[in-house]
């Protein structure tokens, strides 16, 4: 055994000088360096946000609704013998002198939270702020320039800032869970005057107690959840922050799949090249009496030794990358992440081992089957069913390993298929484009004619190279550009007077005064009434049984809608069918948004039934409207005639645009109407943009590593291709070409390949971004001219440089010898 180890080590040391082993080790290194931080991040997020979700949820069960918790629910909870407490959460502007900031306010009462705990600096005695005090997260301190002891204003009430919130469970669901948080005592809620009937807020009932009672209550409530109610329990749900971070991580993992696949392909090709070169050595060792088993052990040992080296460096690189990504995400995370489980530090290395062994086993087992007659006749190992079956089994196992590492079975398989299909298409297109480009050249130049033959001869190689190149460049460009460009270009195309503020929770008695305020300051703004209701019937029958599966998923059937009334159609809502009701129409009539009508199969004359706070209302569709959802105006799926809806309790909503030099009016308005909820869209967008950018940075980092992997793969295939074509070059020179011509031929080929690949990648990037612009953002397509320069030139430079570096010149006198040696 010692002898085998020694021989394996000597073999490895010797082969470390070959390009295939260097490529193999580097690919494995990158795979480990990418897999390690992902495994660690996944574990830390899971431990921090998912597994400890009891502490994060702040309770065992949470009932959340958009209306105050009903007394029946409170009775149920009491009857079940559970500890219960209520929390109200809503967005509001927090003001320090003239500075304002959009925050998510939680008004809680003791006991709070029921699970986990609130951590503050300095540590506080009570679990909640005293009345008149407020605790805020670090982001609030930073943005407002706040200090402990400062006095801030929230609605009508003033609060003293007494602590920095370091972490707190029960952050609520939806985007609000990402906003900077503040906590106040529920006793101060009324004094702030922010909430009134119909205000937009999330009301939560937190429950804790024995598991049996929780499960029973959960089951009981799930049967008759109100349309605005949701249940969050440990068994079924994750807190939203966790889910969103989970989505982010899923995205990073899918990005990593690309790098891992490229690494696997590089390792496969390198090992194939390596094992082909080992036939003579193996035949010799076997002829000297080495048993095949020992030969297998010898090569496996060599692989293991190689793995041990890269595992060390790969894990170290991975740890550094993890620090980098966590550093980027740190200030966005609601709380510090716990350390990962010790075993997780080895996940990347373990994946590297699986890659090497599963991809290495088939060629190594083949080596043991090389006949000794190879020494005399050059026979290769038998390529029979057994060999193919083994390859297949190992590839399937590798697929299983990769999928279970990524834990994203469907998405990963879908991505894999997409990559394969995309690669195949790009490969064929590149090849055709190259042929097309060469045709005019072939008519004029000798080199062109040789090139067209070369293209035919190297078509398989070109397909693989260009597929990898185009896919990688496209993905990287799309991620790189979209991480900032999408949001920016969407913002840039908004008209200058696009509203940048929303005001909600306007009570009916404030409407006239607020209208006056807007008129006095020449702010163009229309107040729309808003009543919350749910669609439950179509033409007198329950609506759900009349819908197909796709329609049942429609947004409007699964939540409470904001309904409005109006005497005239809003300016930016052109009618597409029917007529607007006449003044004073008393029969309930509605105008429905065109797309919703199309998707649900609604037509003029149909009646829709609504449940508005428990009261039924039926109305006939008399018109259809087109709605520009991205206009930042209050938009509604359904608008009633005034007489039909005005009896229902409503709040008002509006949006308006303020020039930068008039921003002080916002402060004036909030001082005059402290209970209004003002949403600063710029701030909201900035928060979203930061998330997009950080996530984009992280995935661009992984994609950049994929690009290195892809570069390696290209180099390995280039090397293989160059070796093959040494014979070709020798033959061409023997047949009458000069060395200069063959060199020019190679360079021209690489140049064209790079240019065409780069152009195709630019086109694919523009198409992808264009599709995102059109479908996601619904804005005109923008071209990125830099792409069309950088990608083709970069790719051409890469191919030419690697070609020049790796191409060994062939002297005329070597040509004939080379051809003879291939006999």
């Amino acid at each position: 055994m010692t002898g085998t180890i020694g021989l394996a080590w000597r073999q490895l040391r010797n082969q470390l000088r070959t390009t295939e082993w260097r490529a193999l080790l580097l690919a494995c290194w990158i795979a480990i360096a990418i897999a390690t931080p992902l495994a660690l991040l996944a574990d830390r997020l899971e431990r921090g946000l998912l597994q400890e979700s009891a502490a994060l949820l702040g309770a065992d069960l949470i009932l959340s609704g958009q209306r105050p918790i009903s007394p029946e629910r409170l009775d149920d909870a009491e009857a079940a013998g559970l500890v219960a407490t209520q929390v109200t959460q809503f967005p509001s502007m927090l003001a320090l002198d003239d500075e304002m900031m959009l925050v998510s306010v939680r008004a809680a009462q003791l006991p709070y939270p029921l699970r986990g705990q609130i951590v503050t600096t300095p540590p506080q005695e009570g679990d909640l702020p005293e009345s008149g005090q407020i605790w805020a997260e670090q982001r609030v301190f930073t943005q407002l320039g706040l200090n402990l002891g400062d006095s801030v204003q929230l609605g009508y009430a003033d609060f003293e800032v007494t602590a920095v919130l370091q972490s707190s469970p029960d952050r609520g669901s939806g985007f609000r869970s990402f906003s900077p948080h503040v906590i106040i005592n529920a006793a101060d809620l009324e004094a702030s005057g922010i909430l009134a009937p119909g205000s937009r807020a999330e009301f939560r009932l937190l429950l804790a107690g024995d598991e049996e009672s929780i499960i029973q209550l959960d089951a009981l409530w799930r049967q008759d959840l109100r349309s605005d109610e949701r249940l969050f329990s440990l068994r079924n749900d994750q807190p939203m922050t966790g889910a969103a971070l989970g989505n982010g991580l899923r995205y990073l993992k899918l990005t990593a799949l690309i790098a891992l696949l490229l690494a696997a392909l590089t390792i496969t090709l390198s090992l194939r090249r390596f094992s082909n070169g080992q036939y003579t050595r193996c035949a010799l060792l076997l002829s000297l009496g080495m048993p095949p088993r020992q030969l297998i052990r010898l090569y496996l040992l060599q692989l293991l030794m190689a793995w041990a080296i890269v595992a060390l460096f790969g894990t170290a690189t991975g740890l550094l990358l993890e620090q980098l990504v966590v550093g980027w995400l740190e200030d966005l995370l609601p709380q510090a992440l716990p350390a990962a489980a010790p075993l997780r530090y080895f996940s990347g290395a373990a994946l590297g081992l699986a890659l090497l062994v599963l991809l290495g086993l088939p060629p190594i087992l083949q080596l043991a089957r090389v006949p000794v007659s190879h020494l005399f006749r050059g026979d290769g190992a038998p390529q029979d069913r057994r060999a193919n079956l083994l390859y297949l089994i190992c590839l399937i196992l590798l697929g299983v390993v990769l999928l279970s590492f990524l834990e994203e079975y469907l998405a990963a398989v879908a991505l894999l298929l997409l990559l394969l299909a995309g690669g195949a298409i790009f490969g064929v297109i590149t090849q055709q484009a190259l042929l097309l480009l060469t045709r005019p050249l072939a008519k004029r130049l000798l080199l062109g004619r040789l090139l067209s033959m070369r293209l035919r001869q190297q078509r398989r190689w070109h397909r693989l190279q260009s597929a990898v190149l185009v896919l990688l460049l496209t993905l990287l460009s799309v991620v790189w550009i979209s991480r900032t460009d999408l949001l920016e270009s969407w913002q840039a195309q908004l008209p200058v007077d696009t509203p940048n503020y929303f005001v909600v929770n306007i009570q009916p008695w404030q409407k006239d005064e607020l209208d006056d305020f807007f008129a006095t300051h020449e702010i163009g703004s229309i107040l729309y009434p808003m009543v919350r209701g749910r669609i439950n019937a179509l033409n007198g029958e329950p609506i759900r049984p009349q819908m197909n599966e796709v329609q049942l998923e429609h947004n409007t059937l699964n939540r409470e809608l904001n309904l409005s009334w109006a005497a005239q159609a809003p300016d930016n809502n052109p009618l597409t069918a029917g007529i607007w009701w006449s003044q004073g129409a008393t029969e309930p009539e509605i105008s429905v948004e065109q797309e919703m009508a199309d998707e649900l199969g609604l037509s003029l004359g149909d009646t829709l039934g609504f449940d508005i706070g428990g009261l039924p209302l039926e109305a006939r569709i008399t018109s259809l409207r087109q709605v520009e959802w991205g206009s930042f105006q209050p938009n509604f799926y359904v608008i009633f005639n005034q007489e039909a809806l005005e009896a229902f309790p409503a709040t008002f909503i509006t949006s308006f645009h303020l020039e930068t030099d008039k921003q002080h009016l916002v402060n004036d308005m909030l001082r005059a109407f402290p209970s209004l909820t003002l949403i600063d869209i710029d701030q909201l967008l900035q928060q979203a943009a930061l998330w997009l950018k950080r996530l984009g940075d992280s995935s661009a980092l992984i994609l950049a590593m994929s690009l290195i992997c892809g570069g390696l793969l290209l180099i390995v295939t280039l090397l293989q291709a160059l070796e093959q074509r040494r014979y070709e070059v020798a033959l061409l020179q023997t047949l009458g070409a000069t060395a200069k011509q063959t060199r020019q031929l190679d360079l021209l080929e690489f140049l064209l390949l790079g240019l065409v690949g780069g152009l195709l990648a630019s086109l694919a990037t523009e198409l992808t971004l264009g599709a995102l612009h059109l479908t996601l953002l619904k804005i005109p397509v923008q071209l990125h001219w830099q792409l069309w320069v950088v990608l083709p030139l970069g790719a051409a430079l890469f191919f030419c440089l690697s070609g020049i570096v790796m191409r060994r010149p062939l002297l005329l006198e070597q040509c004939y010898r080379l051809l003879r040696s291939a006999t």
Partner: protein
């Protein structure tokens, strides 16, 4: 190390000569020197009155493209090109006007008119060598080198190939230099020369 010494040889136009010798005798090195692929450290080799060692790369490439052809033991067809493209290759290199017609003509001369689109992997060894013969004659060379042309073929196919090679050579009036260790094959040439210890000896029939 001296490979050849006192080696004098004149080959007349249209002659066929065989160079025989054991393996390692230097037959292939002699061939590369004769074809201008290599330059002798001493002495001189002339083709048509021009000393090859005085020509630059460009001129020697021109010489090969227009006047010299090769047939190899292992055929050396490019695997990704079909039969027609393989034969077109030398014509393309020297920039012939109608390489297609010439290539087709020569493939039909060797009996492969029906297999123009076939790739080397779809052809038998004998057929591959016939494509190589068509490629060699396609440029109408004055001088043809054949290096163990039957070495990779079974006996019967080898005979057929040699018959074809000699027939076409006679028809084209090219000078043939055949390298072989097969004395029976050598006997078909007008002159036979044995290479031994770096010297050539005329062998009588």
């Amino acid at each position: 190390m001296t490979l050849f010494s006192d080696l004098n040889l004149t080959i007349g136009k249209g002659e066929s000569i065989a160079i025989i010798g054991r393996s390692g005798a230097g037959k292939s090195t002699l061939l590369s020197l004769l074809a201008g692929l290599d330059t002798p450290s001493q002495g001189s080799i002339s083709f048509d009155g021009k000393a090859l060692e005085t020509l630059d790369d460009e001129a020697r490439a021109q010489l090969r493209a227009h006047h010299i052809s090769f047939i190899f033991q292992s055929f050396h067809l490019l695997p990704e090109l079909n039969a027609l493209d393989n034969v077109r290759l030398p014509l393309e290199i020297r920039g012939d006007k109608d390489p297609d017609a010439i290539a087709k003509h020569w493939l039909s001369q060797v009996g492969l008119a029906e297999r123009l689109d076939h790739f080397p992997s779809q052809l038998s060894g004998g057929e591959q060598q016939r494509v190589a013969i068509a490629r060699a004659f396609a440029t109408s060379p004055g001088l043809l080198f054949a290096d163990e042309p039957t070495g990779n073929l079974d006996e019967e196919t080898g005979h057929q190939i040699i018959d074809q090679l000699f027939r076409l050579n006679a028809q084209e009036g090219a000078t043939l230099v055949l390298i072989t260790h097969d004395t029976e094959l050598a006997a078909r040439c007008q002159r036979r020369l044995s290479l031994h210890n770096g010297q050539l000896h005329e062998v009588s029939a």
